[in-house]
Amino acid sequence: MTTEVTGAGSARSPHPGPSGQAPDQRSRGGRRGGAEQVRRTRELSTGFIVSRIAVLGIVAALLIYALPPLIQTEAWTALGAVGVVTALVAYLYLTPRHIPAKYLVPGTIFLIAFAIVPIVLTFVTAFTNFGDGHRGTKEEAIRAIETSSVTQVPGSPEYYLTIAERDGEMVFLLVDPATKAVQAGTAEGLTPVDGAEVSLTGKVLTAAGYTIVPTAQAAERDAEIAAFSVPTTGGAVKATGLSRAFEGKADKSYDAACDCVTSPSGGRWVADEVEGYFVNAEGQHLDQGWKVDVGFANFTKALTDPTISGHFLNVLIWNFVFALSAVATTFALGMIVALALHSPRVRGTKLYRIMLILPYAMPGFAMLLIWRDMFNTDFGLISKLFGVHDWLGTPTTARLGLIVINLWMGFPYMFLVITGALQAVPRELTDAARIDGASAWAGFRRVTLPLVLVALTPLLISSFGFNFNNFNNIKLVTNGGPYAIDNSTVGATDLLISYTYRVAGFDSGVADFGFAAAISVFIFAIVATVSTVAFWRSRAQEEVYS
C-alpha cells in the first residue's frame, strides 16, 4: 500500500490542475521579494477596510435582531452568553490572526448547536430514568396526580357557567340546571343572586351588580378562569370550559410532611426518590412518575441484563457483516459503473448517469416500502421472477435481501463521489501506465484505485458508520425479523440500533430514553473505535499531500 501511495504522490507533480493554469501561476511564484511588499500594503487596502466594516455591520445587525426579545423576557444569562459569543466572533473576524478559525467557526457554531447539543443531552440523559412516565419534575407529577384525581362531588349540580365581574374582580355566575337558581361564586364561596335573567341555554344575561363578561373577552382570560376556584363545603367549583362548571374534589393530595400522596379512601403512596414514583405498601406505584438521577444503572443494566447481553454477540456479528458488505458492495458497484462511464468513447453518458442516480433521487422511505412489497412471498415481483420463496421470512434470504436493497439505494452515492474523484486522477497517469505495458486492470489497481481511495477513505468510513446504524432499512423492510419461534426479543436481521429501539420500548410506544441513551453510548463507542482505527491507518496516505 505504502509504495503505491508514494508513487501516487510523486506522480502528482506533473498534474496541471483541472483548469490547466498551474504552470503559469507557478512561474510567478518566484518573485518572492515583491510579494512581501504587497502583503504589507494589503493591510490598509480598501478591501480590507470594506470587509471589516461588513463584519461590524453583520454583528450589529445580529445584535439588533437577537437582543430585544432577550431583554423583554429578562433572560439575562442568555443575553450575556450572546454578548460573549458575538464579541468573540467580532474579534475573530476583525483581527488578522487566527485565520483557520475564521474558516471553521461558521460550521462549528451550527455543529455545536444541532449536532453536539443532542449528543451532550444523550450523555446526560443516560444517567437518568428519563422516559415515558418519567419526563417531568416531581412537582409536575404531583400536579398531574392531583388534577387527574378530581371527580365530581356526588349529588352536586352540574352548573351552567357565566363569567362576570364585580368591582373588577372575576365572579362565576352559576345556574343550577334543575332549579334555575343563580349563585355567585368567588374566592370566598357561594352566595345566592336574586333577580338574574337567565337564557334557555342557561346563560346569565343580566344580574344586578354584576357585569357579564362576553365570551370572546372571557376567552382572553383563559389562565385566570382556569386558576379560579370557588371553595364549597364538599370541595371546590371549577370551570369546565367557558359554559359549564362542576363541584369537584381531588381524591388524592400531596402531603409534604410525609412526602407522600394520600387519599381519603385510604391509599398512601410514599415518594421513592430512587425509582421516581409514589409507591404504596403493596409495592404498586401511581402512574405519574418523575425524572431522577440513576447513576450508572442504565449502563450496568445494558451490560448485565441477560435479554441484552445474551444476544449481543450475534447481533453485533450481523451488524458488522451488514455494515461492511453495505460499504463494499456499494463501493464496488459504484466504482464499476463510474469507470465504465469514465471514457470519452461512451455515447449517451448523460442519460446513463441520470438513470443511475434515480435510486438515490427517489424518497428512501417510499422505495423501502416498495422493495418490501417486491419481496412478498406469494405476490411479489421477486417471487414471480425467481420462484416462490419466503424471502423475508427466512434468515439467510432476509439478510441477503437487505444487502441487495441497500446496494440499490446506496450505489448511486458511491457512483457520484467516485465520478467526482476520478476527475482528479490525471489521465496522463493512467495512459502512462498503459504505455508501460501494464494491463488495464493493473493500471486501475496501481494508479486509479489508490488515488481514488486516498480521497474517499473518510467517506467509506463515514458510510460504514452510517450503515452500522442504518435504522430505516431494517425498520421499514423487516423490522428486525424473522424471529426464531423461541425468541421474541431479537430477530435475524436486527442491528444494534433497531434492537435498542425495541428493547428501550420505542416500538411499544412507552419509551425509556435513559436506557436508550446508555446503549447509544455503547454503540457509538464501537463505531467510533472502528472508525478511528481506520482513520489513523489512512493518515499515512493523506500526509503524502501535506
Binding site: F110, I116, P363, F466, Y545
Partner: protein
C-alpha cells in the same frame, strides 16, 4: 475485438446496472399509472394506464404543488449555505496547519455517527425557546428548518471537498499569496473556481439529503401549507390502512423531478475534468 475490450464492456456494465437501478422505479411507475391505486398487486406491467393519480395529486385535497415548492426552496438554500460553510472548513483543513487539526477532522467524522435517539427531544428543547424568542426561526418556519439542517454541514461533505482540495497543487495558492492576494481572495478567486466538480457533487449530495429528509421536518412543520414533500407524502400514508398507494407512487415519481433536474444542470460541472482531459488527449 479491440472495441469490445475498450468500449464494449462499458456498455454491457452500464446496461446491466441501469436495469438493476430502474426496475423498482418501473414498479413505482406502474403503480402510479394504475387507476386502482393499489400497490400490493401491482406488477411491472400496469393493469390499465391513466394519469388519474397524477391529476388527483395535483388537484386533490393536498397542496402538493406548495409542498413541492417548499421542498425545492429549502433544499436549494440549505445545499448552497451548507456548501459555503463546508468548503470554507475544507479549505482550512486542506491548506492550513494548526493545532487540533487532526482531532477536528476526526471529530466531524465521528459526530455524525452518534445514534440520534434523542434528536427529537433535543430539537424540542432548543426550538421551543427559539420559537418564543425568534418566531422567524421557530417551529413551522422554513428558516428554522434550514438553520437546523446546517448543523450537518460540517460532516462527511467537508471530507469530500478536503480530499479534492488536496489534489489541487498548493503552489497555485502559494503563488497567489506571493502576488499579494489575501487568503480570502485566494479562497474565492483561485480555489473555488478550481474545485467545480466537487462543489457540484457536494451540492447534489446535500440537496438530495435535504429534500428527502423526513424525521426532523416531521416534528418541525405542522401547517399543511408549510410542509415539505417528504412530510406531506408520509402523511398520506399515516392512516396506512386507508392509503392511496397510486397517488403515493405518483408523488414519489414527482419528488425525483427536482433532483434529476438539478443533476442535469450540474452534470457538466461534475464531469468537467473529464471533458477537459478528452479535449487535450
Amino acid at each position: 475485438m479491440k472495441w469490445l475490450r475498450e468500449v464494449g464492456w462499458r456498455y454491457a456494465v452500464v446496461l446491466v446496472v441501469c436495469a438493476f437501478a430502474l426496475f423498482p422505479v418501473l414498479f413505482v411507475v406502474s403503480a402510479a399509472i394504475n387507476p386502482l391505486g393499489t400497490l400490493g398487486s401491482t406488477g411491472l406491467i400496469p393493469e390499465g394506464a391513466s394519469l388519474k393519480n397524477f391529476v388527483d395529486l395535483l388537484t386533490g385535497d393536498h397542496p402538493f404543488t406548495r409542498w413541492f415548492l417548499n421542498s425545492v426552496v429549502i433544499a436549494l438554500i440549505s445545499a448552497f449555505a451548507g456548501l459555503l460553510i463546508s468548503v470554507a472548513a475544507a479549505y482550512a483543513f486542506s491548506r492550513m496547519r494548526f493545532r487540533g487539526r487532526r482531532v477536528g477532522l476526526l471529530s466531524i467524522l465521528l459526530i455524525q455517527m452518534f445514534p440520534q435517539f434523542l434528536a427529537i427531544v433535543a430539537i424540542f428543547i432548543v426550538f421551543t425557546e427559539v420559537t418564543e424568542l425568534y418566531p422567524t426561526f421557530g417551529f413551522n418556519k422554513p428558516w428554522g428548518l434550514l438553520v437546523l439542517y446546517l448543523g450537518g454541514a460540517l460532516g462527511v461533505n467537508t471530507y469530500l471537498m478536503k480530499g479534492y482540495l488536496d489534489t489541487v497543487p498548493k503552489e497555485i495558492d502559494e503563488s497567489a499569496t506571493m502576488d499579494g492576494a489575501s487568503h480570502v481572495q485566494t479562497f474565492f478567486r483561485i480555489i473555488l473556481p478550481l474545485v467545480g466538480p466537487v462543489l457540484a457533487v457536494t451540492a447534489m449530495l446535500s440537496f438530495i439529503g435535504t429534500i428527502n429528509e423526513f424525521l426532523i421536518a416531521n416534528v418541525f412543520l405542522r401547517d399543511t401549507e408549510a410542509k415539505t414533500l417528504a412530510v406531506g407524502m408520509y402523511g398520506m400514508l399515516t392512516d396506512k390502512r386507508d392509503a392511496n398507494f397510486g397517488m403515493f407512487a405518483a408523488a414519489t415519481l414527482l419528488t425525483a423531478v427536482p433532483t434529476v433536474s438539478l443533476f442535469l444542470w450540474l452534470q457538466k460541472y461534475i464531469v468537467s475534468g473529464l471533458t477537459a482531459g478528452a479535449v487535450k488527449g
